[in-house]
């Protein structure tokens, strides 16, 4: 691990020489190209950009119960009513609510020894997705923004960080924290294209071309005698819009084969994971799929009986498909929540929030296959092996993607920032 002396300025140039306009939107630059947060460390940046690595990040918002999924403890005080079943890996058992995923266990890597800090959703979700870094007075990027920054956008021509979610879509520059809005997420509400992407029906393609050629002529006249920056910035975003319009097929759910629709499930998580597969196949660097409603403070067992099998169906299908398409070598798959659920069962027959000991599941790029790392005690109350915070996972994930999280740093206008919490280390046992 490279030792850094934080007191010495790394740069010889003076800060005010930077064009410190740090507000870019997806390629638009007014005032200089080098203004966003840079990277420091060995000349990895160019190497990393060539990589084909991608990420699928499945977010089960609210806190899936580890006891009703990855780390069952049947027949114990807090075990609940469900049984555990065998999987395709001897010695790994999961809840009976995950029968299909159990058959894909040989592709998966489980971590059962997570112990994190925050037990509230409103703050916990962001903390987990930002890797709960040390407080340096900056807003750290979400994992998706970080990956796009560190690996580059890829050459798909598509927005590099897409989030397929129920409810509303939109542009979410806030995910990117100090990296700047360029690294934000494009959220697709229910998998639909971004607002205003589809051309209104009243406008024909021919008319659209006509009016755009008028616009472009007007812009050329304007730009001819003026500074380049504003005109270039504007042209760039219209070009990206045109690019995206050409790929409207990505958002057309009607073209999926019926067999796939059935395998993944017609419920929203099934539909969204199927859409995610298409995004990954199209080369999108980071695809996040969100599912809401996992916060089963009440009627936890009937709740999970309804929820987990739907996740099971869709998740097993996409693992199977990625494996079949030989994509698991380059796609890192993560399925998790912001915490787990209490062993203690409350009066509403529910489980509350439990960051003390919980699990996540992974597969793919850079990871071992068919393995469960870490363990909780017999009752499932606390971690019995080494506790891993989310910072450990960030180190591990970066390494799985070929990023040396100890050697590379962000450069936030002169402020060096570690890419993952430096008090944490990578989980060697799970890396290939």
């Amino acid at each position: 691990m490279a030792h850094r002396s934080p007191c010495k300025p790394w740069r010889l140039c003076k800060p005010w020489e930077h064009q410190l306009s740090r507000r870019h939107w997806l390629g638009g630059v007014a005032g200089g190209a080098l203004a966003m947060a840079g990277l420091r460390g060995p000349a990895l940046a160019a190497e990393l950009e060539k990589t084909q690595k991608q990420v699928l990040f499945v977010w089960l918002d609210g806190g899936i119960s580890q006891l009703e999924s990855w780390d069952p403890k049947p027949g114990t005080q807090f075990g609940g009513p469900f049984r555990a079943i065998a999987t395709s890996v001897p010695d790994i058992r999961v809840s009976e609510l995950l029968p299909r995923t159990a058959r894909q266990m040989h592709h998966l890597a489980l971590v059962r020894s997570l112990c994190t800090q925050d037990n509230a959703h409103s703050s916990g979700v962001a903390r987990i997705q930002r890797g709960d870094p040390k407080n340096r007075g900056v807003t750290y990027p979400f994992f998706g923004s970080a990956v796009v920054r560190l690996l580059g956008p890829g050459d798909s021509g598509l927005p590099p960080y897409m989030w397929v979610k129920p409810g509303n879509g939109g542009f979410l520059p806030g995910d990117a924290g100090f990296l700047g809005p360029k690294y934000g997420a494009l959220a697709l509400g229910d998998g639909k294209p971004p607002e205003n992407l589809p051309r209104p029906e009243s406008l024909t393609a021919a008319d659209d071309d006509l009016r755009n050629s008028l616009r472009e002529r007007a812009n050329r006249r304007y730009a001819a005698r003026r500074r380049a920056e504003a005109s270039q910035a504007n042209d760039q975003v219209f070009d990206m819009a045109a690019q995206l319009k050409k790929r409207m097929d990505l958002f057309d759910a009607s073209t999926f084969p019926a067999r796939d629709v059935e395998r993944y499930g017609t419920h929203e998580l099934g539909r969204h994971l199927l859409m995610a597969r298409r995004m990954l196949e199209a080369g999108v660097r980071f695809v996040k799929v969100g599912s809401y409603g996992w916060d089963t403070h009440g009627d936890n067992f009937n709740g999970h009986l309804s929820l987990v099998p739907k996740f099971d169906q869709a998740f097993a299908a996409i693992i199977e498909d990625l494996a079949e398409r030989a994509m698991l070598d380059r796609v890192l798959v993560i399925a998790m929540s912001e915490f787990g659920r209490t062993p203690r069962i409350n009066g509403h027959v529910g489980r509350d929030h439990w960051p003390e000991a919980w699990s996540l599941a992974m597969a793919g790029s850079g990871l071992k296959r068919g393995i469960a790392v870490g363990a909780t005690n017999d009752k499932g109350t606390f971690v019995a092996t080494e506790e891993y915070d989310i910072g450990h996972m960030f180190h591990t994930w970066f390494h799985a993607l070929g990023i040396d999280s100890a050697a590379i740093e962000y450069d936030n206008q002169g402020q060096p920032l570690p890419v993952a919490n430096e008090a944490c280390h990578l989980v060697k046992e799970v890396l290939a």
Binding site: G62, P81, F82, A120, H297, G298, R344, I345
Partner: protein, 356 residues
Amino acid sequence: MAADPSELLKRYEPKMAKTVDLDRQMVTLRYSPCGKLLLAGDFDGMVRRWDANGEELQNLAPLAGHGGWVTALTFHGDGHRVFTSDSWGQLRAWPYAEAAPQPAWAVAQAHDGWIRAIACSPDGQNVATCGSDKQIRVWSADDGGKRHEFAAGEDVYSLAFHPSGALASGDLKGVVKHWDAAVGKCEREFDARGMYLYDRLQDVGGVRALAFDKAGTTLVCAGSQPKSGAFVQGSPLVLWFDWQSGNLKHTLKLGGENDGFVYDMSLHQDGFLMAVSSGQPGSGKLFFHSPDAEQPFFAATTMANCHALAVHPGGYRLAVSATNSSSNGNGRQLNGNKEYPGNFSPLYFWDLPQSS
């Protein structure tokens, strides 16, 4: 039936007699037909037994051998046998009053997973079960031999036999079915769909309890009218159907969206409903309701969460199995010994006025 609530209260208002704190949580609670024993199914695969005769409950050896939660227990009318089920799919029959009872018979996988309800046929020959495997099965009460089975089409939560031998079931989606169990034919359906909601990704609700009145003229269905999943917000909901015509005669929507589900109920011989409900922690209720009224004439709100109701055959005592107060909370909450405590079920005993 006197319609005047104050009159009803005078005649039937229960008073809390005693509380017994158990060490773990219970699912279900029933008095034996003779009234001497009290049985409870717990979260730990055991059927607890107490001698309920005296002032104090006397512990008796539990019935062991179940796995997961003991989800239902139903006594045979003959006064000797009890049928018990668990969430792992096992069904057992026991001579319940013996000192150290062994199962008379057991079916290891009566269902694939969670058995939700057991009902004993009026002629005592059969016992019917239902579960999350969407099956209804009928067994010989004597030896556990499978007599009939049929697909119910949905996760079935509750069962009740009509005095005539017809079987009623209530499922997750709020559909109550009248079955000819011998041939597995659904004769007709009753609409309790108000007890179900699909919220985001989750099926919420279910017909949690069913009961016929003694004469078999009325079928009572109980559950919740759900408002949302996850947390689960919803108001207790009870429907009275006329069995013959199938018409809905009366609806009770009780309390607010924190009040949750009706978990268990019993029809008093004088025609009113006794039921327990539970929703958010602290929202438990025991209530008595006469179906010709708007609101219950009695409701107790002092028990934190109520999950099971046992009615003594003599008619003068009720037992409610609940959950302790302060049962919820996020994160690491250790007790004085720095241990992580589980919750438990207090049992509350209520005395009804002695009726003539």
